[in-house]
Symmetry: D3
Subunit: 303 residues, 6 copies
């Protein structure tokens, strides 16, 4: 059956055989393309109806993975154009190609913002932010990087080691020392877990206070985010749920102190007013442009 390709991908995403924001999105796009080819003999109306059903099924596999609906919406936006059959296939290719090159392009665009001699602060462990830093280094710029520990899971150590292995001058500090060192920092670059329609950044706990500190001292704060991290449902007002993770990540108290509560939120929300720009694979945009990106690429705006 022609639907098999869709169902198969649906299953693999659902049971987490396919994981990672980029991979999920590309798998969905690929499935839609193959399906479109198979059913291209149908009438336009029939084709459109079938493709929409396929899209809805795929989205239902993991509703909270923002790259999944974004991929589907990106591809199916072609249904509203002339020659919907061709366009759906073309758009599928576009999504896959763009997604594959996103980290590289973000690296290039972000590196343009880093001048020779800069000291950069980063937080947690972001592939996109690291791409920016490495690209600047590759361009021969003399840079230094400050990494926070990023309690409780200490992902900052991974970032520090990755950059150090690459040959970059790295300094590690505790999360509490950001305001102490901010005057030595020329630019802050972090990654993103999600971007909301009104330009807020959902990222690793601690990000919002780093942005506040950078703003107090007039240090530019940028986030590097592939467009498939832009959260379309926030256009219809949905809030991104902040996950509270297992307290054991922070500490395991012995019996006597078991009664001490531990709260462990994984992310926080940085308001758009503290973000100078979002570095995406389609260019640098002001945070207030997030909404337009969602509209332009994924066609989510209501009619």
């Amino acid at each position: 059956m022609s639907e098999d390709i869709i169902k198969e991908t649906y299953e693999k995403i659902k049971n987490m055989e396919i994981r990672g924001a980029g991979r999920i999105g590309r798998a969905a796009a690929k499935a839609l393309k193959e399906y479109a080819i198979k059913i291209s003999h149908l009438s336009d109306d029939e084709f459109i109806k079938k493709m929409k059903e396929a899209g809805n099924l795929l989205i239902s596999a993991r509703p909270t993975a923002v790259s999944l609906p974004n991929a589907v919406k990106y591809v199916l936006k072609g249904l509203n154009e002339d020659n919907p059959k061709e366009r759906v296939i073309e758009r599928s290719d576009e999504f896959i190609e763009s997604s594959l090159k996103a980290i590289e392009k973000i690296g290039k665009y972000g590196a343009n913002r880093i001048k020779d001699g800069y000291t950069i602060l980063t937080h947690c462990n972001s592939e996109a932010a690291i791409s920016v830093i490495k690209t600047a280094y590759d361009e021969g710029k003399d840079i230094k990087v400050f990494c926070t520990e990023t309690r409780p899971r200490n992902q900052g150590y991974i970032t520090a080691k990755t950059l150090y292995d690459y040959g970059i001058d790295v300094t590690l500090i505790v999360d509490s020392a950001v305001r102490y060192f901010i005057k030595d920092i020329d630019i802050v670059i972090v990654g993103a877990d999600a971007i909301t329609a009104n330009g807020c950044l959902v990222n690793k706990i601690g990000t919002s206070q780093i942005a506040l500190i950078a703003n107090e001292s007039r240090v530019p704060f940028l986030t590097a985010a592939e467009t498939y991290k832009f959260h379309p449902k926030t256009i219809v007002g949905e809030l991104i749920e902040i996950e509270e993770r297992d307290p054991k990540e922070v500490v395991v108290f012995k019996d006597k102190y078991k009664g001490i509560k531990v709260r462990n939120p994984a992310f926080d929300v940085t308001p758009s007013k503290y973000i100078d720009a979002i570095i995406t694979e389609v260019g640098l945009i002001p945070p207030q442009g997030a909404w337009y990106i969602i509209e332009k690429y994924f066609g989510w705006l209501e009619k």
Copy 2:
């Protein structure tokens, strides 16, 4: 010889037999009192001269311990009053008594600021801040406390355990989660390592960013500080040196990553504009009153 009492105390302070801000101050005051009694037969001029020499010697024992010059200055301020001999002895007693009661009084005054049902945030491990919280609890107020971990030395765990042992509802969070939880906090109360003449607070690394965050959300931020923590030399412009401690407190990297630098400043400086009040044993004052406290109690203002 009558100077023996001074020399003896000088030695004990110098070789750190006597330690702790309060104890050092009281030892110096006590030595000055005993010495004053011994030399009270001298003429006023002679007495004043000798007492000043004794004071200078004591101060030289540990010039960076701010409670030492404060104690000496407090006692010797009596030399400028009528009946210098009597006044010096009286002021010595005053200093000792006031110092001994300081934590208790700070607890009482600070607790007046805590209303029933409040959630309090504290950072690091401060005897004075804990006194405020315990007193509020003793007064039957229903309170909750959030403690930060306070990396790198995790003194927040000690605070959490101390308060929990006392029966108080305690929640522990990572240092990065302060802005996430600040809307649940009614008041921030921290201790102080030193207070400068223009009302800045020198305290455990991370304090200044907590103050910034509290200010952003209009949450009152108070520091609890005995007056002998007020740093008189800042009146003549001296900066308090921020100690950078051993990187090993943060992390010990294995060989391959030894090249990653670690910076470990122990304290930071919170500007007066983010401090609502300083809770001292002589009352609650605005931070800009710090200078007057130094002047009034220790007579440090230049002529």
Copy 3:
């Protein structure tokens, strides 16, 4: 004559037989549709010319009612597309349908922003803001609402009664008490009289100071506005005139005090920097996106 339908609607709008932002807009759209059907036998060029004349006539009926030119512009934007005749008719239907569903959709999208347990502050009496609150209540959320009196005409009482009749927990406060209670408020939601191209909100007097207060305490401030409230002429720099209403709305002084002047501005302007998002029937947008909405839906941007 085929123009009769246009003239008739023109008259009804002019003499205020047709009133209310939504109704005016829909009447204009309906007239244009019927007229387009009647003249659909004309050549494209002739058709376009006639439709533009009809649009200009309708707009002239009440130039200050922002929904009128918005409706006309929305419909006539179809003239620039392929198949102008069909598109004009389709767009007329779209406008009418969208307008009719706007309040409901705004309610739904806005309610997504309200969490269980929230306390909401509103000001004046806005159909759109009330729709948000009622929808949240309908969704089973446990909410409380604070209403300001909204002097001088006390529309806050109407809001309070409407919500109370609906079963919602309502508290009424004087306009001066907003800053006193703001720490108990989780979100502010108000309506809109107009939205400017650069994202400012024109609304009932007092709105801008509520926004300022919310911003000082980091409480989200949202406005609920149908897109036909977005003011296209502000794109070409026109200022929205703030009406000063009859002083008698405030007070009528007796003879002796007749000389006391009374000023009674009906609206004020809230700058975009104090607005977290605008809730429209096409989604939540950052205030800086207002200009794009005008461009996208009404085609007002100059060439």
Copy 4:
């Protein structure tokens, strides 16, 4: 019995025969003076003991009337000086005279801040603020005054009438219109119900949001306050309780709407950072100087 004078005054204050901040303070000072004269034959120690007892009794008559302990403390501060008997009597006279002249002096000092051509905004009905305005007018300055209504009790109308009767150009606005008109205002002058040790202003509900608005537009905000309004207990951390008054002052709902809650706080707290200066009868001071005034005149600082 010589104590009779004290008891009599105690009773009159207690049963509110003597009312008003100024009158209460002066009555207490007068009683202490007369009592001091009567017991001046006692030894100094005996005199001091008796005077303190008398002071404590008087204070207990109405503990929440801040001028009462201030008057007693002012007078009894003389007990710590040389010639306590004479000093107590002198200080009693000083307090009474100073109190009587306070409004006049505040008028004079405050008027120095008002330039010819100024437009002044005031809120509620303050004798001290009116004194400033009238004095500026008496000095021949061409001034205009904006009065807010000051809901719920509309004391702004009294202010408006008082100033209008005096010949001053007065405009009345609703409380919500402050931000609308703030750009036409050159200076804001309000009264005070109490001043706290760290320079906050407790005054009629709405004051704090006017101060916030003035600050946003860089318009100076001053409060006029007799020194006996400075609240000494705030030095030991006590919070000033904000009274919630009868909801009926705001509105009386008919039966059907009785369930709508009404909250009616009488005062709010303006933080020191929004106050440019406090106009007192001893001069203009920065708000952070409040604490020194309490210390200097009333001797409340702890030892």
Copy 5:
């Protein structure tokens, strides 16, 4: 050869025979049009290829003149549309016409923001800002203008003279006096050297501190900028290089003081948060809309 028209224009731009942002852009557009006509007999694919080559050549003539790539990109955007040959020619005409009318339209739209009785502050010497002021004056508005000197080259004198010759009331002040006079200013209008993708303004040195001052006192700050000043390369993260000009423009020291360094940056960068709106020939936009303008008119956004 048909390429001659391109090469000729390339040369004239390169050797600065053609100068000025507007003229350069129009020359490029004109050359592309004439070239398109000449090669319109080619196949679409061939035509597109040739036009792109021509565009790249033209851009290479002066890569830092932002109007040059903008003109080329504007015209060649037509290559992606149906009927590329016609569209390229039409778009060339559009660009030229729009460019020619830009100053006039900016004048008209900006003047809508100026009310009768306004006092306007401007800095340096901007054709667009002057157009706004003159238009407001032509509309019969009673306006006053403050001009800064604009050290080091004193272009403010030229502005002052131009406006004075036009009959406008002009006051000249030193650059340091802006904050002193800002309360007398109703609106600030300056020109632009370039606008970045995230809404920052690159303009004459001193502009950013005027914007900061205007923001502190809530005075609207607008910049007048033709759309061809919007810098497309900033979308891919490129920073606009701030030129440091010859120190001799500031001062020439005699021998003894030759060692005193002189720094003379020509421009500074005003962040978007201090800009209320950008006045362009296509309308007033919020600064965060800059990126959309670049995308819409020049098609620079990456795919």
Copy 6:
């Protein structure tokens, strides 16, 4: 006659034979001392009366020179102490000595704030600020200084030359370039023409915008001011008049442009919130302490 010494000094100050804030103050103090010696045979009451008359006469010689009443008040404060005759003479000596050493002490205290490697920004030409910079240099610190031109009279050139002659690394910039360079600046130090009771700084035009800029970027801003620059009359609300100087200092227009107005205010007012500390010869104080300095040294507070 014994009054001759007073009259003589009065005349010399009046006819400007004696000039300069410091010299005027010292002359008045000296005259009072000599006069006190001459009339020391009088009764205390008579002595006090005569001294007050002498003081008033001296003050009347140049009421706007703030150092004159400060000197007189400083000396005559001794009249309220025990042994008024001796105290007046002692206090006269104190004032003169303190005044003579003020610049040196300010230099020393201020230099404590300058760390090795600092870049300092100064404005205009202040003896006290230069003393701070030179002292830091003398202490062997490696410092750089940025001087503004300080239009219209270009006093910055004098500062630049003075420091350059002293061997210091100096860079000159136009006044408009402060915000451009502020990130390279570690501390701003300026002088003072006067300090008001509530901690505002009256200084050369442009100072307040430099303070605003420093504050925006979290760069410390300090003013160096001898205590006799503290303006006592501001305690009673008097405003310091800002002098507007001859427009010719800015520019002399030729006939045709004579109609262009030129405004030339000499000073502006920096609010206390932008000042980190005032460096005086008695120590560093927070700006809000200005009032206490006036009270303590000059006894100006009202009773």
